[in-house]
């Protein structure tokens, strides 16, 4: 409904239609992403000696691998920033098939870690199937929801709700059960929920979906003793610091021992074998240990700023498809940050999930940078829709005013308000 109500103003959904006018992209995205990656590299470099001893590799092993991942990520970013967003609509099906194949490949040839199949080795690097599935889901959902908006049946149980629920069930079974990746499952469910919610699905339906997700989640937890244990240790980590609760305990110790200003970049101790997954899932705790509450606040502020850029771009997205893509990416990355940080702060049950940009890990970084590339491209085409609305009603919105009255340097630096009337209605 929400976006559907604006349908009248949409440009035609001709997939290969002429591209809209470009303006300056949102370089802040690039800047913040670079800052986050650099922070991650610094932390990784600082804890490398400890990691290297545990894994019996050279001191530069981790940093070198991460540099390769960053290089691949830059390639992905550039590609995604330049391939027209609409192009992906053609690839909906191939992407879904590729995602399905990767899920099967992981089950057949994957490495089994802690009873879960998540990785396959591809030419010396390991590939995490869930990342590809997230991307395929993103494209499919955007296309699917835009179609529903255009058909005006977002609230329809059969046309909209049913496919979404089926998608969630498949994800729950494949990612949640077979890959035993509850974190990624949660991220994907959050993507579905957020995109459907912003697309304008009626609140009643949204709540229905929420209820189904809750029940499904409980079933998944109840069906696995491993997850039951995790939930128990989440509620009482101190009761089992030696075994199941070890990582939670160590995470809290790591975060807590950082104090106000941290121990300093070179003085982290917990990375030396105490805190499991110090470079990957637990890197936030190491960062908190090194840089203290000040550092945590700065990092959260950086993420919030980053997501604010995404939020702004989504607000001003030129069309529903672009908006939903940005919302999906926003949901993807922010959920991942919240789950990761929440777990390290003992607020959420522990999930094996990476902290975007910061964590060591190639697949995650490549796909995250690819997603940022996609948003970067969309940021070239943002419009002041609110101002446009106001022009219809004859009122000036607060935001419109704010920008008009702002001194030049404070403006967003993009093209002038594109009046509806000036835009091609081809």
């Amino acid at each position: 409904m929400a976006i559907g109500s604006l349908k009248a103003r949409q440009q035609p959904t001709d997939l290969d239609g002429p591209r809209q006018r470009r303006h300056r992209p949102d370089y802040w995205l690039l800047l913040i992403a670079t800052a986050l990656i650099v922070i991650g590299l610094i932390v990784l470099y600082a804890i490398s000696p400890g990691l290297a001893i545990q894994k019996q590799v050279g001191d530069n092993y981790f940093v070198n691998k991460q540099m390769i991942a960053i290089a691949l990520g830059i390639v992905a970013f550039v590609a995604m920033a330049n391939i027209p967003v609409n192009f992906w609509r053609h690839l909906q099906r191939p992407l879904l098939i590729a995602a399905a194949l990767s899920a099967i490949a992981v089950r057949l040839f994957g490495e089994r870690v802690n009873g879960a199949y998540r990785w396959i080795q591809v030419g010396g690097m390991s590939f995490q199937a869930a990342e590809l599935i997230k991307f395929a889901l993103l494209i499919w959902l955007a296309c699917f929801l835009v179609e529903r908006i255009q058909e005006g049946n977002l609230g329809d149980v059969k046309k909209t709700l049913q496919p979404l629920i089926i998608a969630m069930v498949i994800i729950g079974l494949v990612v949640g059960k077979v890959q035993s990746d509850f974190g990624s499952t949660a991220v994907m469910v959050a993507m579905i929920g957020s995109m459907a919610f912003v697309a304008g699905m009626p609140m009643k339906r949204v709540m229905m979906v929420g209820a189904i997700v809750a029940i499904g989640g409980l079933l998944l937890i109840a069906g696995s003793s491993y997850r039951r244990d995790r939930l128990m240790t989440f509620m009482h980590p101190e009761q089992d610091c030696q075994n199941a609760g070890y990582q939670v305990c160590q995470a809290l110790i790591t975060v807590g021992s950082g104090g106000m200003f941290g121990l300093g970049v070179a003085n982290s101790v917990q990375a030396y074998g105490y805190l499991p997954e110090a470079a990957n899932d637990s890197i936030f705790a190491i960062l908190a240990e090194k840089f203290g509450f000040i550092g945590v606040t700065a990092l959260v502020a950086l993420f919030v700023t980053f997501f604010r850029r995404l939020f702004r771009i989504a607000e001003r997205a030129p069309d529903d498809y672009s908006r939903l893509l940005v919302v999906g990416i926003l949901a993807w990355l922010s959920t991942q940050v919240l789950i990761n940080v929440g777990a390290m702060l003992g607020l959420l049950p522990l999930k094996g999930i990476t902290l975007p940009f910061i964590s060591y890990g190639g697949t995650s970084l490549v796909f995250v940078l690819g997603a940022v590339g996609l948003v970067f491209q969309i940021s070239r085409y943002t419009v002041y829709r609110t101002a446009a609305v106001s022009s219809q009603t004859g009122q000036t919105t607060r935001e419109g005013r704010a920008n008009e009255s702002a001194p030049h340097w404070r403006r967003n630096g993009r093209a002038h308000n594109p009046a509806v009337g000036r835009r091609s209605q081809a």
Binding site: S5, L6, F197, G200, L252, G256, G259, Y272, G273, V300
Partner: protein, 591 residues
């Protein structure tokens, strides 16, 4: 277009409204995280810091290097105990997958029994020793195999450049690093040094992260480097003589020692059978560990008689020229004190005869003189005073040896059959003393009357590798008068001159003064009484020129040759050692 938006419109795009709502929720969660982070990092910081420290901060002991031991070799000082770093090969059976294969790989690399290795890899423990004392090359070979669950650990071992020399005197260091027996036990705390302390932030495996500023280090203080009074050449020859003498006497065990009577320094001290301190763990009979000269007290027998004579002379109750009628037996408290058959029967005897003929009755007569003609309270107390306060019997000498025994001297005032008991002590029975105590007592009697503390430590090496010698300690000055000392010395020389052929010394070397006294004593039964056919032979004597230079004490346990153990088994050893000293160790002839 849908008829209405489900959300209240503020005039903006409803999609944006929902997006804002979504974003607000995100901001709210982010705010909660900041609050939570503040709680963990600022409010509860101390608690978590403490928890972190509990696991990160570990205390280590830095082992101190154990002090090495050296001894004299003529004018130079040479090491007798050194330290060597070797490696213990161990397995953690939990990580061993294929014990047969691992065991054979190890056996191929360093030798040894593969089936033993395999057995050790299967024990139910997390630490199983496969082999000890691997050298660096062997260790490198094993490490090269990169076997999971097999590791090496550095261990410091004592090594003995002189082999078995002075084994009991030195003692050994057990696997726990504790000094056992001999010098290692007695000087354990000095040799051990002071372990250093390292409090370090470590990684999860306990390896210190050196760069951390929280480390507090107390340097380990190496143990003292000891230089012994022992002369290793003399020690070697003493051991050879002891072994040969015991073989000749068909005895299984015995001991001998040489002391400098003018300082109390022990120059050589040996027990037999002996062992190799490097292989102490292979020894089955722990008796070989003991230094018998200080740990095994015996009834000294007739060796006591010169001391009894010295006491009587010192008291002035007899003179050198004094003669008396010896009845060849005394009846004391209903018991008969008799002499050996060769005493020549009843007759007039001199003080010298008492020593030379080894008269038990004579010793008893000397004791009677201390009591004014009979054995009484005064005699007992006087003689007890000489034995304990002057000759230092019945108490430890304090020599730097483990398990020193004090021996026993009967109480002079209390007990059943006191007079008989004291008559016995006059000729070395009913009391016990160690050979070391005998040496110390004789030294004080022949050196002019000064009891020097018997000692094995000459001094310690300082930082500049210079020997800092310790001065001899005078335990008791004026043990006997100097002129009495001279007299006793002469009597003992006289006695030796008379008996030397019987001791196996057909010709006396010219220009030296040699004196001594045999002792043969029945061996006491553990439950009381004596074995009829088991004897100890001892010989306590001196050799020198104008003044005695060396005290020699020899002991032979249960010799299996005919004749008295003292004169037939122990005395020949004394003769050998006297010759050895005169030939090799600068005995100054009489002027």
């Amino acid at each position: 277009m849908h008829p209405r938006s489900p959300m209240p419109s503020t005039g903006s795009n409803p999609a944006v409204q929902r997006l804002r709502l979504w974003y607000s929720v995100f901001l709210l969660v982010a705010a909660v995280f900041i609050v939570r982070s503040f709680y963990l990092q600022v409010i509860r910081h101390d608690y978590y810091r403490q928890l972190a420290m509990n696991s990160q901060l570990k205390e280590y002991q830095i082992p101190a290097e154990r002090g090495v031991i050296a001894a004299h070799d003529g004018d130079t000082v040479v090491p007798v105990v050194l330290n060597q770093k070797l490696y213990t090969l161990f397995a953690d059976p939990k990580y061993i997958k294929d014990s047969w294969k691992d065991a054979h790989q190890i056996a191929d690399a360093i030798g040894g029994d593969a089936s033993y290795y395999e057995k050790q890899m299967k024990v139910n423990s997390r630490y199983s020793v496969l082999a000890k004392k691997l050298n660096k090359e062997q260790r490198a070979k094993v490490e090269k195999l990169k076997l999971k669950g097999v590791g090496t650990r550095e261990t410091t071992y004592r090594t003995y450049p002189q082999g078995q020399l002075a084994a009991q005197l030195l003692g050994f260091v057990n696997d726990e690093g504790e000094g056992k027996y001999g010098l290692e036990q007695a000087l354990d705390s000095q040799l051990k040094g002071q372990a250093g302390e390292l409090r370090a932030i470590t990684d999860a495996r306990g390896i210190p992260l050196v760069a951390n500023k929280d480390n507090i280090v107390k340097e380990a203080q190496a143990g003292k480097r000891v230089v012994l009074t022992i002369d290793i050449a003399m020690q070697k020859q003493l051991e050879d003589n002891l072994k040969a003498g015991l073989e000749r006497a068909k005895s299984k065990s015995g001991d001998a020692m040489i002391m400098d009577p003018n300082t109390g320094a022990i120059l050589a001290m040996a027990s037999f059978p002996t062992y190799s301190p490097a292989d102490f763990s292979k020894v089955e009979d722990a008796n070989v560990f003991t230094n018998a000269s200080v740990s095994s007290a015996l009834e000294v027998g007739s060796s006591m008689k010169p001391l009894t004579a010295a006491a009587a002379l010192d008291q002035g109750v007899v003179k050198r020229e004094t003669t008396y009628f010896d009845p060849s037996f005394y009846d004391i408290d209903g018991y008969k004190i008799t002499n050996i058959e060769e005493d020549g029967g009843a007759g007039t005897r001199s003080v010298s005869d008492i020593i030379q003929l080894s008269l038990n009755t004579g010793a008893t007569w000397l004791l009677m003189q201390m009591g004014g003609g009979q054995i009484n309270q005064k005699a007992r107390q006087t003689w007890h005073g000489y034995m304990v306060d002057r000759y230092q019997f019945g108490k430890q000498t304090g020599i730097e040896q483990g398990y020193e025994t004090a021996g026993t001297i009967p109480d002079p005032n209390d007990g059943y059959g006191l007079n008989l008991q004291y008559a016995n002590t006059a000729f070395g029975q009913g009391m016990t003393a160690t050979p070391l105590q005998m040496a110390g007592a004789l030294a004080s009697v022949v050196n002019g009357g000064t009891y020097y503390k018997p000692h094995l430590v000459d001094g310690y090496m300082n930082k500049d590798n210079q020997l800092v010698q310790q001065k001899p300690t005078v335990v008791k000055a004026g043990v006997i008068k100097p002129e009495v000392s001279q007299t006793v010395k002469e009597i003992m020389q006289y006695s030796f001159e008379k008996n030397h052929v019987g001791y196996g010394m057909p010709r006396l070397p010219a220009g030296y003064s040699i004196g001594g006294k045999t002792g043969t004593a029945q061996i006491a039964k553990p439950g009381g009484g004596y074995y009829e056919d088991k004897f100890n032979g001892t010989f306590t004597g001196f050799v020198g020129g104008d003044k005695p230079q060396y005290i020699i004490v020899t002991r032979v346990n249960e010799p299996k040759i005919p004749g008295y153990a003292g004169s037939k088994a122990a005395a020949p050893m004394f003769v050998d050692m006297t010759n050895m000293l005169i030939n090799n160790f600068n005995v100054t002839p009489k002027s």
